[in-house]
Each structure stands twice: as structure tokens, then as C-alpha cells.
């Protein structure tokens, strides 16, 4: 799977894409592969405040539960209902349909210290 050029990536294997002052957050293909078959996704309620670097939910697979860290600060404006019913979609389309949450950003400048697609691929190549 390719890593979209317009996304920004974190060391904890989340991605974020920007649309005006709204960010969409998900986990990377590398993350879903490491986790294995995903059985449950625990997301916050709409309206919850998220803070860069802090956990906002978790992704549960058959072998582990992994916390998801927010790459940005803001307020949750939407959560992906698809994952409540079909968590396995996260294995199938982690960069597209299986986004996790959308956030109204406090500031878009937080994205500046995140990795580009090329840097992220180098990072996981080195892991």
C-alpha cells in the first residue's frame, strides 16, 4: 500500500490530513499490519478535547490493544461510525475509508514537526 503524499505522519504510526482547519486522523498501513486482525476500535465522543501527544482511544486486535496518540490539538468533530460495525475495515483501508476521527484544529502549525510520506517510509524501513 502506498503512503499518501499529502498526509503527515507520526512516530507512533498515526497519519493526519488537513482540510482547512479540520484534520482527519488515522493509523498507517504499517500499524494495522503489525497489529494483526482488528476486532474493536475505541473512539472518543464527538466534542471531546484531544491534545497533541496524548491518547484519545485504542485499537484492539486479537493479540494486543494499542493506544492511539493524537498528532494534533483540538476538538473531535466526527468519528468513523463504520469502524463500530466493521472494525476489520481498518486492516483493509487504513488510509481511506477507515479513518478514525476528525478534529477541529486549534492550530495547523502543529503539523510542521510531523514526518512527510518519504520520511515516514524511511522511518519504518529502519525499524
Amino acid at each position: 500500500m502506498s503512503y499518501p503524499e499529502n498526509f503527515k505522519y507520526t512516530k507512533e504510526h498515526e497519519w493526519v490530513s488537513l482540510d482547512g482547519d479540520h484534520g482527519t486522523i488515522g493509523i498507517t498501513d504499517h500499524a494495522q499490519e503489525e497489529l494483526g486482525d482488528i476486532v474493536f476500535v475505541d473512539l472518543p465522543k464527538v466534542g471531546t478535547a484531544v491534545t497533541k501527544g496524548q491518547t484519545f482511544g485504542s485499537v484492539e486486535s486479537v493479540k494486543a490493544v494499542s493506544d492511539i496518540y493524537s498528532p494534533v490539538t483540538g476538538e473531535v468533530s466526527a468519528i468513523n461510525e463504520l469502524l463500530q460495525k466493521s472494525p476489520e475495515k481498518l486492516n483493509e483501508d487504513p488510509h481511506g475509508d477507515a479513518w478514525l476521527i476528525q478534529v477541529k484544529l486549534a492550530s495547523t502549525s502543529e503539523l510542521n514537526d510531523l514526518m512527510s510520506a518519504a520520511d515516514y517510509q524511511k522511518y519504518i524501513g529502519a525499524e
Binding site: F40, D42, E60, S61, V62, K63, A64, V65, D67
Partner: protein, 424 residues
């Protein structure tokens, strides 16, 4: 061997024991007896002091009949020596019996999902409190003073180190949770209210009204039971969000304090917050029905400090005793058992001065007028009858009161003897 570990004498091995817990006298038995003679000596002594007593003591541990076949089933090697069923391919027997247990607990409590058992009723209470704290994301817990005092102490032991403030709700003049006190103390900081039914005084609590109050504030209702036999006749606590309790009444010997077996059961929507082991039903590769441990990612051996609890096992053998008991008795048998308990207790209570005027199951509080409960118990002991629990120890305002319990095991003649002891 002492040299190898750097000690001088056998006495050094126990040097760490404080002197006030050491038995420094000589055993009251003559020297020079053979092993056979010593065993015989103790057998004779115990026949004098521990056999042939009638008991009217309840207060969290109950004297019920243990059908013989319970022992027959649990002493089978396959059950007695089995380990935790981590490998489903070699543990279908164990897993099936635990699944049956979980199913029966749900039927008994009116809940949708139950785990494979807790260590005991008392430790299940803080687990329910912590569940409520996680679910509601609030940190305060209210607990009724009519919940078993030792259960409340265990709750305190856990919550004091978890940043969960506890507040007690008093009881009204009928001996039940004071709804006005609850209304005053309930607010949006409260994660749960913990109430026991039948409560420590043996009285049935009014769960419906409590549920209305609690739900209106977005808090959870946790219902506790110490006397499982009551569930044979009272309505299952369907108003609860979490039910916890003790199954010692179901073929678990009192054993001087344990081991016992607790339960925790809840609604399906909270399944990921429940602590402990869960057995699930599934199909194997050949399409046959099979069982396995499931949702293990909540547990501490995987999630570590983020686990729902640090509980890491269950009380499999005792849960099996309770399962055999529930299977043997069935719905009708449990009802019959409950009716017998109800009848006996009400027969006895009818002859005594009751402290609280409210419906009760097999326990009730009486007022000892004139003499102290301790004095009455001494007189009863002379007749080989163990009386009830003097309440002053846990409720200073009820120092002249005693908690009595009558079960299917109590004879009419003994009950009449108890009634007489109160009259004289």
C-alpha cells in the same frame, strides 16, 4: 543446609516473626505419643468442641446444605488438577463448565454477561466500583452503610490508592438505604452507588426507586448480594448496571473464612470494561461448537497497567461446585430452598423483638432487651447453639442488637431454644 544459606539454627528461619504472634507455650499433649495416638487425641477433642452445634450465624457466610454429588464431580482428576484453559484444544471440558457457570450467573442475576468468577464477593465490589469509574469517567463512589461492613472495608482498601473518594449513605428507620440521604449526596461527580440486597440487616432494598434517582444523574447502580440463596425467590436485580456477589451459599463450605467465590455480571454494552476471565462460545476449524478464553486483551498479562484490573485468575474449582449445585437444584429447587429459608427465618423472627419493620429474607435484626447480645450468646452456647452476630462491633448505634440467620439447616427445636433464651 543452614550453612549453605548462612544461618546458624532452625530458629533463625523464623526469626522474622514478631514475638506477639508466636505460640510460646507447650502444646497441651503428653510427650512420647505415637502419630496414631496424637491423631486420635485430636479427633476426640474436636468431637467435644466442634461437632453437634446448631448455628444461627449469617452475616455474609451461610450455613446451607452441600449435596454429596458436588464433591464427587469436583474431585474428578480432570477438574481437580486442571490448570487455566489457555489452550482450548486440550481444555474443552473446563471451558464448557465455566461457560455454563457464566450462563447460570446471568440467569440468576438478570444480567447479560458474567465473567468466569472473582476471588470472592468482597473483592468483586471494588472491581465494580472501578468499572463504573472507567465507564462514566467520574471518580466518586457512594456506598450504602447497609452493605456488609467488611465488604466496605475491602472497597476502601482498593479505592484509597486509586484516587476514588468514597462516601457512605445512611439507613432510614426501616433499616434500608435512606433515599433522602442518597438524593442529597448524588450529583454529576458520582460514578456509582453501591447497594446490597438483601442488605446486611437481612432487609430487601428498594432498587427501582434507587435506579430512577441514579440514572437521572448519569451514574451507575451496582447491586451486591452476600446470600445467593435469596435469588431463588426475589426478583433478579435487573435494574442494576453491574451485579456483584458471593456464591458461598451454593455448596461452598464456610471453611473458617474461605476460599469463596465471587461473581461479577453486567450489561453487554459494558463487556469490555468487565475484569477477569471470560469464556466465549465459538466454532472450531471443522465447524464444531467450541469454547475458548476471549477478550483477553483487557487483562493485565496483556494490557499491563492499562488493564481493567490486576485480577489474573478465577476460582475455577469453587465456581464448579456452585455450577453443580445450581444444576442439581435447578430453578425450582432454588426456589424451594429459598422458600424453606424464608419460612424458617420468619418462624423464628415471629417469636422475637424485631428491630426493623421491613421485608426480609433469611436474616433479621433483633433487639436484646435487658441483657447484652453477648450474654445471650453465652447462654445459647451452653446448649450447643451458636447465636447471631452482636452488631455493636460494626454499628455502635446498634450495640444492643443482634443479627440472626435461619436457613433450611435449622431445626424447630433449636429455633424454639433461641426464642426462649431471649425471653428469660
Amino acid at each position: 543446609m543452614l550453612d549453605a544459606i548462612g544461618l546458624k539454627s532452625e530458629e533463625d528461619l523464623i526469626a522474622y516473626l514478631p514475638s506477639d504472634v508466636r505460640f510460646d507455650k507447650r502444646l497441651a499433649i503428653d510427650d512420647g505419643k505415637s502419630e496414631y495416638e496424637i491423631v486420635d487425641y485430636f479427633r476426640a477433642r474436636s468431637a467435644e468442641t466442634a461437632v453437634g452445634y446448631a448455628s444461627f450465624l449469617g452475616a455474609g457466610v451461610y450455613n446451607h446444605y452441600r449435596p454429596v454429588v458436588v464433591e464427587t464431580v469436583v474431585s474428578r482428576g480432570e477438574f481437580l488438577t486442571a490448570y487455566t484453559p489457555y489452550q482450548p484444544e486440550i481444555s474443552q471440558g473446563t471451558l464448557t463448565s465455566i461457560f455454563e457457570f457464566q450462563t447460570m450467573v446471568c440467569q440468576l442475576t438478570g444480567m447479560e454477561v458474567a465473567n468466569a468468577s472473582m476471588y470472592d464477593g468482597s473483592s468483586a465490589v471494588p472491581e465494580a466500583a472501578m468499572m463504573a469509574v472507567r465507564i462514566t469517567r467520574r471518580d466518586k463512589v457512594l456506598v450504602a452503610r447497609t452493605v456488609h461492613p467488611e465488604y466496605r472495608q475491602v472497597l476502601q482498601t482498593y479505592t484509597q490508592h486509586q484516587g476514588i473518594p468514597l462516601e457512605e449513605i445512611g439507613y432510614d428507620k426501616k433499616g434500608r438505604l435512606d433515599l433522602d440521604d442518597l438524593r442529597k449526596k448524588l450529583n454529576e461527580d458520582v460514578a456509582a452507588i453501591i447497594v446490597q440486597t438483601p442488605n446486611f440487616f437481612g432487609l430487601l432494598e428498594q432498587l427501582g426507586e434507587m435506579k430512577r434517582l441514579v440514572a437521572a444523574k448519569g451514574a451507575l447502580l451496582v447491586v451486591v448480594f452476600t446470600e445467593a440463596a435469596a435469588l431463588g425467590i426475589i426478583e433478579p436485580p435487573r435494574d442494576a448496571d453491574v451485579v456483584v456477589g458471593e456464591l458461598q451459599s451454593f455448596a461452598i463450605s464456610p471453611s473458617y473464612g474461605g476460599p469463596y467465590v465471587g461473581i461479577i455480571a453486567t450489561l453487554e454494552k459494558y463487556i469490555r470494561q468487565i475484569p477477569g476471565r471470560l469464556v466465549g462460545e465459538t466454532t472450531d476449524a471443522a465447524g464444531h461448537r467450541a469454547f475458548c478464553l476471549t477478550l483477553a486483551t483487557r487483562e493485565q498479562h496483556i494490557r499491563r497497567e492499562k488493564a481493567t484490573s490486576n485480577i489474573c485468575t478465577n476460582q475455577a474449582l469453587l465456581a464448579l461446585m456452585a455450577t453443580v449445585f445450581m444444576t442439581l437444584y435447578g430453578k425450582e429447587g432454588l426456589r424451594e430452598l429459598a422458600v424453606q429459608n424464608l419460612s424458617k427465618a420468619h418462624y423464628l423472627a415471629g417469636k422475637l423483638p424485631l428491630r426493623f419493620d421491613a421485608p426480609f429474607f433469611n436474616e433479621f435484626v433483633i433487639t436484646a432487651n435487658g441483657r447484652s447480645p453477648e450474654e445471650i450468646n453465652s447462654k445459647l452456647l451452653e446448649q450447643k447453639i451458636i447465636g447471631g452476630l452482636p452488631l455493636g462491633r460494626f454499628y455502635p448505634e446498634l450495640t444492643n442488637c443482634m443479627l440472626l440467620c435461619a436457613t433450611e439447616m435449622n431445626k424447630r427445636s433449636d429455633m424454639d431454644a433461641v426464642a426462649s433464651a431471649f425471653k428469660n
